[in-house]
Symmetry: D2
Subunit: 165 residues, 4 copies
Amino acid sequence: MAVIGEGDLAPDDLRWASARELGRLAVEAGFRVATGGLDGVMAAASRGAAEAHAYREGDVIGVLPSYDRATANEWVDIVIPSGLGIARNVVLMALADVVVAIGGGAGTLSEIAIAWQLGRPVVAVQGLGWAGRLGGQAVDARRTDVVASVGTATEAVARALDVCG
Amino acid sequence: MAVIGEGDLAPDDLRWASARELGRLAVEAGFRVATGGLDGVMAAASRGAAEAHAYREGDVIGVLPSYDRATANEWVDIVIPSGLGIARNVVLMALADVVVAIGGGAGTLSEIAIAWQLGRPVVAVQGLGWAGRLGGQAVDARRTDVVASVGTATEAVARALDVCG
Amino acid sequence: MAVIGEGDLAPDDLRWASARELGRLAVEAGFRVATGGLDGVMAAASRGAAEAHAYREGDVIGVLPSYDRATANEWVDIVIPSGLGIARNVVLMALADVVVAIGGGAGTLSEIAIAWQLGRPVVAVQGLGWAGRLGGQAVDARRTDVVASVGTATEAVARALDVCG
Amino acid sequence: MAVIGEGDLAPDDLRWASARELGRLAVEAGFRVATGGLDGVMAAASRGAAEAHAYREGDVIGVLPSYDRATANEWVDIVIPSGLGIARNVVLMALADVVVAIGGGAGTLSEIAIAWQLGRPVVAVQGLGWAGRLGGQAVDARRTDVVASVGTATEAVARALDVCG
């Protein structure tokens, strides 16, 4: 599961708590958690994943834009310092079996649109940002499903399990 | 100028005519025209560019997803068969001084979001698709401008000249 | 550890056996094994890794050129279907802490040269191909080390442990 | 034509003069000149291209590793600030119809190896560096040709015209 969302959240932002819970529940449910490896939602989801009871080393993947491993947040096990800049978002979406978005600005929006093109199921947590705006909608007509809209991290993981069948 | 929009338009679609006019006017105004090099809006804008009076060989650039030059539409002068798949969209946005969107599905949406991250001015032609939906809005709060909303190809080029100083 | 080498070896090729042994010993020594995810040396190293006693699910990473997960060999745990074509070689070298080459044609040569630019230690198993030709040499003057030359998989892993300190 | 070689040559290096002459002759012969857009051989070839009598604006392409247009040398007309880091070398090789190497360290070596994989004809100017070492040789057995070895810029362009037939 890829978890996407803003990189500059304050740790007291509700989305930070939501992403951390999402990371934890994802690993409890048997997913690995992949993110862009940096801060905000990425760090929160990585931290949650690493705190899960079911966590095993290797469950947290971070695909960095730069070649600099030191930019990864401390909970990433498998650092992929791609050096690809923004194009690393395509690699992240491609490696995901399902994508869960929390909040999100232009980076998250681009990732949702890329995931849609690649046929990846997308789940959006209701709230601020592009996840909130796109939940329940189709990005375009090429697919018959929609960006799933869920209210909580628990529902997000349940939906992810459904679509990953 | 990068021109973006759907790749599977019928030639009698109004967006095809609009993209062709846009390509022509862009070259008359002194721009090169870069696209994803394939069909639909990409082909229309490339054709229009090649039909401009001011056209010089080299004015039409196509950044292809595959390594196969033969997939470029016939009006592309400088074929960049990137082999990068969807990540070629990032290269296209990066090389543009300004981006003009006509219609558009998930691919166009991802490009607008990437252009926004890269600080490229974005101009959207009113109408269907993501260009129509995003015109007049900010993609997120990192920039103080908005996706410019224009009604015609003529206005799009005028706006592009404005923002490119 | 990234293991690189030819993708079209016959399973009875000595390099296949060597790569399998290398994958196994790498995991026994505590490394993850990352490859280009396809056949030949990539499959052999992945298989060896998966057969190690110390193997844990997640130890075998494959960075594919296409978006098609089904092209990964059966021993890859973490499939990264990058869609980047040949540029996936850069991602593979970037994620490696150390690179071990066995045999190798132009693809392997490009990877060694990229690893060199990225400052990754490179270990070459003596024998045919570019690994054999470059072992003991500097690729250029920017680094003071050389491509380490070793005779066996056992020595390769020992050297990898040394340089990853 | 892509011209590749070291990025940190002194302007009084013989390879600088050779690359400048090569850029000039390439444009006189009807080629566009594409490079990595930075300094050394890249700047020299770009400058030579821009000084050709047959030069038209648009003949000099630079594919930069960063998103920063300001890193391009002053003779580049079409700046492609790819943001792809070292992976921009793959884009450069892919867009070339023929590749000419002068001197060269690990970057040039990786480019020759990538061009070989992509089926691009490669011409090497005799002398120092990887161009000198690989001239006259096959990179691997997948192709029946060799890296052409030439003594001068004039011969390089003649050979490039031959192979681009």
